[in-house]
Amino acid sequence: MARKRYTHAINEALIEEMSRDPRVIVYGEDVELAIMGDTRGLLDRFGRERIRNTPICEATLTGMAVGAAAAGCRVVVHMMFSNFIYTGFDAIANQMAKLHLMTGGQAVMPITIIAAYGGGASNAAQHSDSGYPALVNLGGVNVAMPATPADAKGLLKSAIRGNNPTFFMEAIGRGGEMGEVPDGDYTVPFGKAATAREGRDVTLIAIGSMLKPTLEAAKKLEAAGIQAEVIDPRTLVPLDEEALIAAARKTGRIVVVDEARDRCSAASHIAAVLADKAFGALKAPVKRVTVPNVCMPYAPNAEKRMIPDADRIARIATETARA
C-alpha cells in the first residue's frame, strides 16, 4: 500500500499487465510520449512492437482493436479525450458491442479503451463530454468508472484481463489526485459497488468523478447532523443493482450524482431502477444531481456552474434527507 496519483495507478496497472502477458498491446495517438501521462515509460520498457503512436484516425483505431483481438492480442486503445470516442463510434457501436452476439459467441474481444472524460479545465465543449451514457446504452460493452487511484489500478487490471470490450473512463483533472493503492496484483471485480461512507439518513450514489465532491458534501451534511451513506457503483456495466437497491432500502432517500448530461444519464437509469425495485422503501423523491442538458462552456465560471459540486450536492441531499 502506498499513496499514489490516479495517473500513476493507471500507469502501474499497464506496466504490470504488459509484463504479465506478452499479448497485451497499447496504441493510440501520442501514447509514446504519454500525452495523458498514463502511458509514460511504456515505450522504453516494452518497445514499439507493443506500444505505438498511431495516425489520427479514431474510426480505424476502434475497428482495428476488434480485428487485433480476434487475431489474438489483448488490446488497449488510448482515445485521449472521450469526445474522440464519437469519432471512432462506428466500430464501437456496430462491431465491438455486437460481434459476440452476431457471431453466436465466436468473437471474443479482450479490448480496453481508455478515455478521459469530464469538465473543469476550460477545455470547452469538444474536450469535456461525459459521454458514457451512450456506451452504457449499447449493451455490449462494459463501462468502468474508477473514482480513486486504487480502483483505477484494480479496474484497469480486470479490464485488460477480461474477455469483453471495456471502456475505462479516466476522470480528467483527477489524474493528479492521490490515494492509497494496494501494491502488486490488485484487481477490482466488475459489478461490485463500493460503500465509500456509511450513513443512515440519505443515500448518495456517486459516479466516477463525482465521488470526491459527494464525499465533501457528506462532510458538510455531517456538520448539519445528517449521516449520508455514499455508494460508488464503480462500473456502470455491469451495474451492481443489488447493492444499490439495498442501499436505497436502508435510507429510503436517494440522490444520484453524475457528471453526465441529465437526459438519459446514468443517474436517470439508476434512479429508474430504484423507483422500480426499491419503490416500497422510498420516502422522498429520487433526486438526480447532474450536468444540465448542455455541453460544457469554456469560461471557467460558466463551466463551474454546470458541474455538480459539493454545495449543490449537499443542498439537494439535505432537502432529500428532510423531505
Binding site: 489474438g72 488490446v75 462491431q95
Partner: protein, 329 residues
Amino acid sequence: MPTTEPSRAELLALYERMLLIRRMEERLRADAAAGNLPGAVHLYIGQEAIATGVCAQLRATDLITSTHRGHGHFLAKGGDPKAMMAEIWAKRTGICRGMGGSMHVADFSKGILGANGIVGGGFAIATGAALASKLLHDTRVAVAFFGDGAANQGVFMECLNVSSLWKLPLLLVCEHNQFSEFTPSQDITSGDIADRARAFKIPTTVVDGNDVVAVWQAAGEAVGRARSGEGPCFIQAHTYRIQGHLEAEDLFLAGGKYREKHEIDAWRQRDPVERQQQRLLAAGVRPDDLQAIDARIGRVVEEAVKFAVESEPADSDLALELMFVGQKA
C-alpha cells in the same frame, strides 16, 4: 515475377468452389423468392471468381473480413455450407446460432471474421488482424474484401495509411461490381479507386474479376508479398452484380430503374463460372467430369438445405447470454 499457371487440379478446384457458391446462391434466391428466409439476402452471383481466386491462395489460418454480400467469401474460405444455410434459415445449428443471419456469417475457427452489415466495417478489422499477425510473428495474412461503394468510406483511406506505414500483412480486395445499391459507381466515385491505394505507395493490381485464374494469379503474388513482410497489397477486380442489390429489390424500387437489361445480359456473357468451364473443356477435361462435379455440389446444397430445414429454430433467449463472455446482458 513470372506468373504462375494453375495446375489442372487447381483449375478444377477453383471451378468446383465457384460452382458451390453459385448453386448455394441460386438456392437461396429460390428460397428468398418463396418467402422461406427472414431478413435481407444479398447474393454473390456473378462475382464468384473473386472470393474463390483469392481464398485459394490463403491458408486455413489466414483471416478474412467480408461484406453484406458475404456468402461467397464464407464458402470460398472453407466455411461449412450446412452451417451457413442453417444460419440464413435462422436455426440454432447455424454457424452463428441464428443470431447473425445472412449478413453476418462467420467462422472464426476458419479465419472467417465475418460478413458485415456495415459498409466499410471490415477494413479496420482486417487491418487489426494483420497488426496482430505482425506483432505475434505468426505469418498470417489478413484479407479485406469490399465493394466499390465501400471504397468511399474514409476508413478505407485510414487503413491504407496504417497498413502501409506499418507494413502489415494485409490484402485489400476491391470487388468493383459497378454499383452501390441502386447507384452506379461512377456517380459517386471520383477517380480510379486503385489510385487511392497508389497514393499510399501500396502495390496495386487491376484484374478481370470474372476470370478466376487472373484473380488467383494476382492474389498469389499479393499474398506472397504480404506474407513475406513486404506490406499491404491492393487488388481491384472488375466484375458485375448480376442479381439485384438484394433479393426482392423490385419491392424497394417500386418501378424505379437504375440499369438496363442489356447491360446485365452483356455481363452474363462473361459469366465467371461458365468461363472457367470453357477453360476446363479446352484443357481437355471431359464434360462428364464436370457433370459429376455439378451433381456432387447439387447434393451438398440439398444436404445443406435439408439440414437447415430440419434444424430447430434458434434459442429465443440466447441473446441474453451472448452479449458478453461469461456475463449476463
